[in-house]
């Protein structure tokens, strides 16, 4: 025991000495939480659009000023020809073009069918769809005002559960937590142990009277403590800066986070046992854990849209389950009765990794 404590202390100093890595480790969650919370938004705002008004009537001018008054769009180009519009698209200066044909006012005022053309930049379909919907709503509103038609039929009353302002933070904070804990535990342990191998110092350790599992444990404990500190700082940031309170039990959240952290540490140790160089370890950690976590765990892109094989790959990623659990506890405030299956999966993964780590470790020593 005393041996272990001395060893952990030594490893800890080793970690703390590397100021740059520490800065990144602590800086990354802060920067990500702030970026996700404040800077990024999938909401459409200030989209630059062009208008080609071939009518120049009272009606067309009114329509344009109605569009200008809207926060979604910036009308910054009054174009004179379709060629000019094409150049504006090619230079990336506009995302959409509204073409008002010459007889627009005449058609509206004489009760005939009027037409408008909306040309969108199809190279960004997500954006194109959204701005098309916004713009057609504005135009239809305008038409309703012009012809004084009342709204009729079924009107939806929409209630956004758990996140009324449709903020990004409720989705991203649990995601950033999962990602950061993954990076610190898997990447850091994997590299830290391989590094000793690469430098040849691992052999020195192995011939020492120290038991091998103590060496591994001593390597893992500092990162475990670091992870807990970072977890607490993300939660504090989330509550104070992003105004995203933790609805569920803090104790439960910490308990499950500990399981997740241990799972990741074991994964890192397994990677470091099977590899010989830092670059290989890093590559496996990146391609095998980080990229799938970012892409397939559901925090960047909705899981339901993915093809079945990708969803199945997603299911073997521990971070996916932790992300679901964290989302449930933090945002919905649910307890174990809802998430017990997820927790069991996570515990199962932890045990499997433990067995693999112990077995592989023995093989390497012989």
């Amino acid at each position: 025991m005393k041996q272990l404590i001395t060893f952990v202390k030594k490893e800890f100093w080793h970690v703390l000495r590397d100021k740059r890595t520490l800065l990144v480790l602590f800086g990354m969650p802060v920067v990500q939480v702030l970026l996700f919370g404040f800077a990024l938004s999938t909401e459409v705002k200030n989209t630059k659009i062009g208008v080609l008004d071939q009518d120049k009537s009272q009606n067309s001018i009114e329509l344009i000023s109605k569009i200008k008054a809207n926060q979604y769009f910036d009308v910054d180009k009054n174009l004179r020809s379709i060629d000019e519009a094409e150049d504006a698209f090619k230079g990336g200066k506009i995302k959409m073009l509204l073409v008002i044909p010459a007889q627009f006012a005449q058609d509206i005022n004489s009760g005939k069918k009027a037409q408008l053309q909306l040309i969108t930049d199809g190279t960004d379909i997500n954006m194109a769809n959204q701005i098309y919907n916004f713009m057609s709503n504005i135009i239809m509103d305008f038409y309703g005002q012009q012809t004084m038609q009342p709204k009729s039929g079924v009107q939806p009353e929409i209630r956004m559960l758990y996140n009324p302002q449709l903020k990004g933070a409720p989705n991203f904070v649990p995601g950033v937590m999962a990602l950061i804990l993954l990076i610190i535990c898997v990447l850091m342990t994997a590299i830290a142990i391989v590094r000793e191998k690469e430098m040849g110092t691992m052999e020195v350790l192995l011939v020492s009277p120290m038991k091998p599992y103590i060496i591994i444990l001593a390597k893992a404990i500092p990162y475990f403590i670091l992870s807990m500190i970072i977890l607490v700082s993300i939660l504090i940031l989330s509550v104070t800066v992003l105004d995203l309170p933790i609805k569920g039990s803090l104790l439960l959240l910490f308990g499950i986070s500990i399981i997740f952290i241990i799972t990741n540490l074991l994964l890192g140790i397994v990677i470091s046992i099977v590899t010989d160089s830092q670059q290989t370890a890093m590559l496996i950690a990146l391609v095998g854990t980080m990229l799938p976590t970012i892409m397939l765990s559901g925090f960047m892109f909705p899981v339901e849209n993915m093809p079945l094989p990708l969803q199945m790959i997603g299911n073997v990623i521990p971070a996916k389950w932790y992300y679901e659990i964290a989302k449930n506890i933090i945002i919905k405030g649910t307890g174990l009765e809802v998430i017990w299956k997820h927790v069991l999966v996570l515990i199962g993964m932890m045990l499997v990794l433990f067995v693999i780590a112990v077995k592989k470790f023995k093989i390497r020593l012989e």
Binding site: S41, G92, I119, G122, T123, Q155, N163, I191, M295
Partner: protein, 374 residues
């Protein structure tokens, strides 16, 4: 002078080809990423799980439900009369959206031509919630038009001859190909990742092993040493880009609209800037671990702020400045413009200007800094 450089490059290549993991990064990563990312990053939402709480159980309410199912976006998982039961299912993630139809739905609709339905959406993921709401809104609009015509058939002729029609057109993507908007962007981001990481790691590895000191005391010029490091990785990154481009064209069937010459000119210059940044990261770190984390930290910010996944326009003002100073923004945009819109050199002048400026700054910065430390 060229002989030393040539020998250095040759030595570098030999070392690189000895390391299998680097080869995997260069040849396998582009393919894996380009194949998986576009499949995963699909915002087109299908099969939204919906619970209907129908208090009316009338012909009209059933007609509305039929229309919702027919749209293909929604899957009705639960049908009942109790909102709280449905809410419990949302709590358990079994349901994404609840539609509550009030008691006198059909009667009100016939008598007053007006009624409200409640739509409650699990909005933890704001994007998904917003999209579900807008899909359902469109279905309701269609449904409204249909019942209006049912109740007043004489309106049909009037409707046909009046009204406002919006004719939508999607330029540069007539076939409405979803992959088109992502794949070229991912291609740009991919070479950034490969180029940046490889350079940063490689030079630090020499530091860590100690071989860099041997080079420092040898008669090799610093300029030759740095060029000898950059040129092989530049060539390898170009190879990775070409592999990615082939995948884009042959696997995703995305046709190249612009000039290959311009595209390659753009990527060549862009890679010089990116490799320069990798060089800078390696100058500032002592271990591979450090440089990896530094590169990782910046890449994370660069990717998020590049406009690839979220539009640059809707960022907060201070965030926009970060986006404008972010090389990946220019890389992603440049590749998209050339590949998809056939934009010419004049359209890309701002991109070239920024990238060349950045390359000069980072390379001279790292050379100056490198002299100091050695």
């Amino acid at each position: 002078m060229f002989r030393t450089l040539f020998i250095l490059i040759k030595k570098e290549f030999l070392q690189i080809f000895r390391n299998k993991s680097i080869l995997a990064i260069i040849f396998v990563m582009p393919v894996i990423q380009l194949v998986i990312l576009p499949l995963a990053a699909n915002y087109e939402i299908k099969d939204i799980k919906i619970a209907v709480v129908d208090h009316d159980k009338s012909t009209q309410s059933r007609e509305l439900i039929r229309k919702i199912t027919a749209s293909g976006y929604f899957k009705i998982m639960d049908y009942g009369e109790n909102y709280n039961d449905a809410y419990q299912e949302v709590e358990k993630d079994k349901i994404d959206l609840i539609l509550e139809i009030p008691n006198n739905f059909e009667k009100d609709l016939v008598r007053e031509n007006n009624d409200k339905v409640l739509i409650a959406i699990n909005a933890i993921n704001g994007t998904k919630a917003g999209l579900s709401a807008s899909y359902l809104g469109q279905i309701l609009q269609n449904y409204n038009q249909q019942i209006q015509l049912e109740m007043n058939p004489e309106l049909e002729t009037v409707k046909k001859n009046s009204g406002l029609e919006i004719v939508p057109k999607f330029w540069f993507n007539e076939t409405y190909n979803y992959r088109l908007s992502l794949v070229p962007g991912i291609l740009a981001f991919l070479v950034t990742l490969i180029g940046g990481y490889l350079t940063a790691l490689n030079i630090v590895e020499e530091k860590e092993i100690g071989t860099i000191e041997q080079i420092n005391v040898s008669p090799i010029k610093k300029r030759d040493f740095i060029l000898g490091k950059l040129i092989p990785f530049w060539i390898l990154s170009m190879v990775a880009f070409t592999i990615g481009l082939l995948v884009t064209i042959f696997v995703y069937k995305i046709q190249m609209q612009g000039s290959y010459l311009l595209l390659y000119a753009f990527i060549s210059v862009y890679l010089i800037a990116i490799l320069g940044m990798g060089l800078l990261a390696s100058v500032y770190s002592d271990t591979q671990q450090q440089s990896m984390f530094m590169v990782f930290f910046f890449m994370m910010i660069f990717i998020l702020m590049s406009g690839l996944f979220t539009p640059t326009e809707s960022m907060t003002d201070w965030a926009k400045y970060i986006a404008y100073l972010n090389p990946v923004t220019y890389g992603v945009d440049g590749v998209r413009l050339i590949m998809l819109k056939d934009s010419g050199l004049m359209d890309l002048l701002p991109h070239f200007g920024f990238i060349i400026g950045l390359a000069i700054v980072v390379i001279s910065w790292s050379v100056l800094r490198y002299h100091k430390t050695s």
